[in-house]
C-alpha cells in the first residue's frame, strides 16, 4: 500500500479550480516532486496534505487513515516553508527542539536529538545562534532539521531552495538527496524549476491548471512527454505539428507543414490522418556543414538564423528551407573553436527517425 494516497481531491476558490480532481499515490521512501508553473495548484495541494487547507472533496490517506479534518498539529507530517519560518525569538536549538517540546519528549532526550539533527544538516555548533545571525543557506538547513527532528512519516518541502543563489542551490540539492537517503523519510517536494525536479526526484508529477499532466520518472518525463505542455515545460523542445501521412511497419511519415515529410517512430494507435505534435529535443539534432545521407535519419537544409553561445554549449536556431525554425544544441568541446557556425551559415541538420516522440490527443 502506498504511504500517501490522494483520492479525487478538489479545491476551488470561487470559480477557479486550484486543484481539479487529482488522484495520485506516493510510495514510502521516495523523493516525490510536484512540478509546475505558478498557479498550477502544487502549493495548494501541499498545504492540504499539511493540513493548512481543507479540500472541497476527496480524501488524503496517510497509511490508510484519512487526514482530512485532522488539524496540522495532529498530522505526522512536517513542512519546510519557502521562507523557512524560523521563530525569530528562539535560538537555533530552541527552534529545532520545538516539535519535541510539543510532543512532550523528556528534556534530556530533546538535547540529544537536537544535537543529532544539527549533525544531520551539518550545523553542529550553531545551537546558540539566532535566525537573524544565519545566512540563507544555514537558515534553510535549520528549517529542514526542525522538520525532521520529530521523525515524521512525510516531509513536505515548499520551494525551499528558491531564495538561494544558483551555486548554493546546486550544493543544497545534492545535500537534500543525500539527506533523504540517510533519514529514509518520504519527501514531497514542490518546485517550479524543472531542472531541480529532474535532478532530485524519484518521480515527478507535472501539474498544470489544477491537473496532473504526467506522473513518471524524470528520464521518462524528459524523453517521453505525454502532452504538449509537459514537452514544452521540461527542458526545451521543438514542437512540430503535423499529421500522419503513411505508416510502414515500425516507422511512419509525418507531414509537417513548413518542413516536409518527417520519418518518425510509430506510436500506439497510429492511423493515417491522425494529427499531433512531434516533440524533438535539440540535443538529438545533428548539425553540420554537410551530412551524409542515411535512410534512418531525417535530413533538412537550412541556414543559421540565430545562435546563443552558452559557454559549454551553443544553441543554434536554424531556419529550414520550408520556413520552419528548428532549435539544435551542440557542445562546444572541439578543441580551440569557440563556436562552429555563424549567423547566416548554410547548414545541414539531421536526426534519428526515432529521436522524436509523437504526441496526440
Amino acid at each position: 500500500m502506498a504511504l500517501l494516497e490522494i483520492r479525487n481531491v478538489s479545491r476551488r476558490f470561487g470559480d477557479f479550480a486550484a486543484v481539479d480532481n487529482i488522484s495520485l499515490s506516493i510510495e514510502a521512501g521516495e523523493f516525490f516532486t510536484l512540478l509546475g508553473p505558478s498557479g498550477c495548484g502544487k502549493t495548494t495541494l501541499l498545504r492540504m496534505i499539511a493540513g493548512f487547507d481543507l479540500p472541497d472533496s476527496g480524501q488524503i490517506l496517510l497509511d490508510g487513515v484519512d487526514l482530512v479534518g485532522s488539524p496540522p498539529e495532529h498530522r505526522p507530517v512536517c513542512t519546510v516553508f519557502q521562507n523557512y519560518a524560523l521563530f525569530p525569538h528562539m535560538t537555533v536549538s530552541a527552534n529545532i527542539a520545538f516539535p519535541l517540546k510539543m510532543a512532550k519528549v523528556p528534556a534530556d532526550q530533546i538535547r540529544l536529538r537536537v544535537e543529532e539533527a544539527l549533525e544531520d544538516v551539518r550545523l553542529t555548533g550553531f545551537a546558540a545562534r539566532f535566525p537573524h545571525e544565519l545566512s540563507g543557506g544555514q537558515r534553510q538547513r535549520v528549517a529542514v532539521a526542525r522538520a525532521l527532528v520529530s521523525r515524521p512519516k512525510l516531509l513536505l518541502l515548499d520551494e525551499p531552495l528558491s531564495a538561494l543563489d544558483a551555486k548554493l542551490r546546486e550544493q543544497m540539492q545534492i545535500e537534500l538527496i543525500n539527506l533523504q537517503k540517510e533519514v529514509d523519510i518520504t519527501f514531497v517536494y514542490v518546485t517550479h524549476d524543472q531542472g531541480e525536479a529532474l535532478a532530485l526526484s524519484h518521480r515527478i508529477a507535472v501539474m498544470n491548471r489544477g491537473n496532473v499532466e504526467q506522473l513518471d520518472e524524470p528520464s521518462r518525463i524528459y524523453s517521453y512527454p505525454r502532452t504538449r505542455f509537459v514537452a514544452d515545460f521540461i527542458g526545451t523542445c521543438n514542437l512540430l505539428d503535423g499529421a500522419i501521412a503513411s505508416v510502414d511497419g515500425a516507422a511512419m511519415q509525418l507531414d509537417v507543414p513548413g518542413l516536409g515529410l518527417v520519418k518518425s517512430a510509430v506510436p500506439p494507435n497510429a492511423a493515417v490522418g491522425l494529427k499531433g505534435t512531434l516533440a524533438l529535443r535539440p540535443e538529438k539534432i545533428h548539425i553540420s556543414a554537410e551530412i551524409g545521407t542515411d535512410t534512418a535519419e531525417n535530413h533538412f537544409k537550412g541556414f543559421v538564423k540565430e545562435l546563443l553561445y552558452l559557454g559549454d554549449v551553443t544553441v543554434y536556431i536554424v531556419q529550414t528551407e520550408g520556413g520552419t525554425t528548428i532549435e539544435a544544441l551542440l557542445a562546444n568541446s572541439a578543441a580551440g573553436r569557440a563556436k562552429f557556425f555563424e549567423v547566416g551559415d548554410m547548414v545541414d541538420i539531421a536526426w534519428q527517425f526515432d529521436a522524436g516522440h509523437f504526441l496526440y490527443e
Binding site: 493540513g51 498539529e73 521563530f87 525569538h89 520545538f98 516539535p99 510539543m102 520529530s150
Partner: protein
C-alpha cells in the same frame, strides 16, 4: 549632493519649523518656570521658591485625586490591554464586521458623546457615579487604542510562523502563547502604556462619569484652574509632565521598537 539637500529644505521652511517648535514648547516651559516663581500671579519672575511644591504635598484633596488617578489607570490599562489585545487579534484573524465598528467608533467621535451617553447609562442603571464608573468608562475608550496597536503589530508579523508552529505540533493556543504573543509583545506593551497614559490624562469622559464626590488629577486641575488659579497648578503640571517623560523613557528602554511606526 549636499547642495541638493539644502535646496530641498530652504531657509523659509526652517524658520517656520522653528517657529512651530517654539509654539509647541514655550507655553510648557513657561508653566514649568513659573512653578518655581515666588509670586501668586503668573506674571513676572520674582524669585525662586519650592513653596508651591510644598503646598502641593500637603494638599489632601490633590493627593487623594492623584491616588485615584493612579489606581484607575492601573486597573483600566490592565483590563483594556487584555480586552484590546483580544480585539486586535480577532480583527486581524477573522473577518468581523461588528467588532471593528464598536472598537474604532469611540475613538473616532468626539469624547463628549461617549461621556454623556455613559452618564445617562450609569444613572439609569442606578450605578453610583464614582471610581467604578470612571474605570468602566476608561476601559471602554482605551480598548480601541490597544486594539489598533496590536492589530498593526500582527499584520506586520509573518503569517507562516503560526503555521510553522502548528506544523511542529502546537495547538492553536500553544502557537499563540509560544510564538505569536512573544512577537507582538512590544505592541502589547506599547498599547498598555498608551492606555495607562490616556487614562491618567483623561478629562472629558471622566468629567461626566465622576459624579460629585470622586476626583482624579485632571478633574482636580480643572477645578483649580476654574476656581482658584494659583501656581500650585503649575507645580502639579510640572510633576505630571515629569512623570510622563519618565514613563516614556522607561517604555523606550523596555520595548525599544514599540513606539516606532513600523
Amino acid at each position: 549632493m549636499a547642495n541638493l539637500n539644502r535646496m530641498r529644505r530652504p531657509l523659509g521652511l526652517w524658520l517656520v519649523a522653528l517657529f512651530v517648535y517654539a509654539f509647541l514648547y514655550v507655553p510648557l516651559i513657561i508653566v514649568v518656570v513659573y512653578s518655581f516663581n515666588d509670586s501668586q500671579l503668573n506674571a513676572e519672575w520674582v524669585g525662586f521658591t519650592l513653596d508651591w511644591y510644598r503646598k502641593l504635598f500637603h494638599n489632601e484633596e490633590m493627593l487623594r485625586a492623584a491616588g485615584n488617578s493612579l489606581m484607575i489607570a492601573l486597573v483600566a490599562s490592565a483590563a483594556s490591554t487584555l480586552l484590546g489585545t483580544m480585539a486586535g487579534f480577532a480583527m486581524h484573524r477573522y473577518k468581523l464586521k461588528l467588532l471593528p465598528l464598536l472598537v474604532l467608533t469611540p475613538i473616532a467621535i468626539p469624547e463628549i458623546l461617549v461621556g454623556v451617553s455613559l452618564l445617562i447609562f450609569f444613572v439609569m442603571l442606578n450605578i453610583t457615579l464614582g471610581l467604578l464608573s470612571i474605570t468602566l468608562a476608561h476601559i471602554a475608550f482605551c480598548i480601541g487604542f490597544v486594539a489598533i496597536v496590536v492589530r498593526s503589530r500582527l499584520s506586520g508579523m509573518d503569517e507562516s510562523l503560526t503555521e510553522a508552529a502548528r506544523d511542529c505540533g502546537a495547538t492553536p493556543m500553544q502557537a499563540f502563547r509560544l510564538v505569536t504573543l512573544p512577537l507582538i509583545m512590544p505592541g502589547v506593551v506599547a498599547g498598555a502604556l498608551m492606555a495607562f497614559t490616556l487614562s491618567i490624562d483623561d478629562f472629558v469622559i471622566t468629567f461626566f462619569t465622576a459624579g460629585a464626590n470622586a476626583s482624579t488629577l485632571p478633574l482636580q486641575i480643572y477645578s483649580m484652574i476654574k476656581i482658584a488659579v494659583t501656581p500650585e497648578v503649575n507645580a502639579v503640571s510640572t510633576l505630571l509632565m515629569g512623570l510622563t517623560l519618565l514613563l516614556i523613557i522607561i517604555a523606550s528602554k523596555l520595548a525599544p521598537n514599540a513606539l516606532r511606526s513600523s
